[in-house]
Amino acid sequence: MFSDFYYFNSRKKYVQIKWSIVLFLFTSSLLAQDIEKDSLNNEKFSLRVGYYAPYINQFGARVGFSYPLKKWAKENKKAQTRIHKLEIIPKLGYFANIDIQRNYFLDVELQYKWYRPKRKIHPKIGVALGYMLARQNIGATVNLGNGSFTFDRRSLHFLVPTIHLGFEKNRANRIGYYFSAFYGRKFTGQEVNSDIFGLEAGIVLNFSKNK
């Protein structure tokens, strides 16, 4: 596990390049395509509820809504159609390692996914910007009679850009699922900045917009 941290930290340039590639793919896929007229009216929006494990050792939950922004189709040389879809997902999350801190996370992800209509599982990538409030344990008072103890906490405020990579299965049915890994950075004026990464898995409940 720590090899990953070291990897990330010792290769800042690599990370910057990775960010650039993601942004490039994102914008180029939007601009370079033959965008067909949206059929967003028929699109569904979905509620996603997930299990959330930043740093792998911290656990929590995340709830979000995904709203379709754009959808287009493109045929390749073999006359196969590929659907491209852009969604925006505001999310609310909570995760904690109770010995260290409790975190409240609000972020908005711009997610791009692409699939062949017959394929049920499809990949997705996203970029997100979030605000995180961390209630961090800085002190403890222990009662020497019974051993109980309470924490003193401070609030830390972070701006958190992240990139997300994962897959999803959610089109055909009412209920689907998703899995994604994310990586980003926590920026704050109160403390040192640091990396953040983690995993997320959850279910997607699809609702038809017209209903």
């Binding site: 720590f2 800085i138 002190g139 403890a140 222990v142 103890f149 403390e191």
Partner: protein, 399 residues
């Protein structure tokens, strides 16, 4: 078996020394499995305790509680052993030996084990935020590691202060300082301990809590001699060098922790050298950097001829890491060289190739051993030393 295996084998909570548990334990559960034993005893004799470190003091605490006559014989002019304090160097008291509480804070209440104690103690959550590694000439941030490591330290007091305030007050008069024991004769019906000035102290049983390196160095002669199985078992435990240095600087140029190994090894628990902000969350206005080095990582410092050479070496090392800023900002320092303490001779037990149970087996129902090296669950710690003493006193008084 090395210390890691020893600990892994025998405990649920792996503790031992700073940064060992990079993969954080859930300290908020009451993981502290130390317990003051509860037992009945008919013992009516006197117990001699050799050494007034954590184990010796804990033994005194429980013996006093059970109303047993005892005397603690300590070689040094102060009690505490590897629990030692400097109250003058900074604007907060500094732990020159044990500093971290490698357990849930409730371990402190468990050591005292007295529900009548009506006191609260403030601790800091030792969860460093800025973490750097210096490996192969390159300084890297690994701040993300702060999500994996957190322990506790005293906020306004020290480990020694804790013992002074909550364990020792009821039996201070039973601690005899400046009494280095050189001989233990258990051939007769009583045990006789002779000190360096040939004063003899008698008891029915003796509990020896001196560090393992002191036992190995034959500072104490036993009559009759200890069995070869016991001697082999003692020699099978290794205890390397140990040093702590505190340096005041006029400016802060260092992170909360500087490690000299990559994070993978740190996660594995092999970090035995670090520079760290000793004033971290201590409400201090001073810039105090600590050096903690034990086992083979301490030897480059402890093997130097003088403290002046040591501080020069350290400043050079820090200058290399921080581009010359250390010697420019240097104000003063204090050094605690544990290897040079004649009645300590190192840091703490680290590898276990011997049979610890053999050492724990009483000799003739008169000679007993305790101390940090002998606690199966938390060797190398203060609470482990206390637990080992509690267990051995129970054995002593009930068999």
């Amino acid at each position: 078996m090395d210390r890691k295996e020893f600990i892994k084998k025998s405990l649920a909570l792996g503790v031992g020394f700073p940064f060992m548990n990079f993969i954080l334990q859930s300290c908020s559960e009451d993981g502290s499995n130390i317990n003051l034993p509860n037992f009945q005893t008919n013992f009516s004799g006197k117990v001699l305790v050799i050494g007034a470190g954590a184990a010796g003091l804990a033994a005194g605490y429980i013996l006093n509680r059970y109303g047993v006559d005892f005397e603690i014989l300590e070689a040094n002019p102060v009690y505490g052993g590897r629990v030692k304090r400097d109250s003058t160097f900074a604007d907060f008291p500094i732990d020159l030996g044990a500093e971290w509480i490698h357990e849930s804070p409730s371990v402190l209440a468990n050591i005292i084990s007295n529900p009548q104690v009506n006191a609260n103690l403030d601790l800091i959550v030792y969860n460093p935020q800025s973490i750097k590694t210096y490996v192969n000439g390159s300084l890297n941030n690994i701040n993300i590691a702060s999500n994996y490591y957190s322990e506790y330290k005293f906020k306004r007091t020290t480990w020694l202060g804790f013992f002074e305030q909550y364990l020792v007050p009821n039996f201070t008069s039973k601690i005899r300082l400046n009494t280095p024991i050189t001989q233990i004769n258990y051939s007769g019906s009583v045990v006789r301990a002779t000190d360096i000035n040939n004063n003899v102290y008698e008891g029915n049983k003796v509990l020896i809590t001196v560090p393992i390196n002191v036992l190995k160095s034959n500072v104490i002669n036993f009559t009759p001699a200890l069995s070869s199985a016991k001697v082999d078992a003692i020699n099978g435990i290794s205890m390397g060098d140990g040093i702590k240095v505190f340096i005041e600087f006029s400016e802060r140029f260092y992170p909360d922790i500087l490690l000299f190994d990559n994070i993978i090894n740190a996660a594995g628990g092999s970090i035995e050298k670090t520079y760290y902000d000793a004033a971290f969350r201590k409400n201090s206005s001073r810039n105090i950097l600590g050096l903690f080095a034990v086992q083979q990582f301490a030897t480059p410092y402890t093997s130097l001829g003088s403290d002046q050479e040591r501080i020069n070496f350290i400043l050079k090392e820090l200058d290399e890491v921080f581009g010359g800023r250390a010697s420019k900002a240097y104000v003063r320092h204090t050094i605690q060289n544990w290897s040079a303490e004649p009645y300590i001779l190192g840091s703490y037990s680290s590898t276990f190739n011997g049979d610890v149970d053999e050492i724990l087996t009483p000799v003739d129902n008169k000679v007993y051993f305790a101390g940090e090296a002998l606690d199966a669950q938390a060797s190398s710690t203060v609470h482990g030393a206390c637990q080992s003493a509690y267990d051995m006193v129970q054995t002593m008084l009930t068999t």
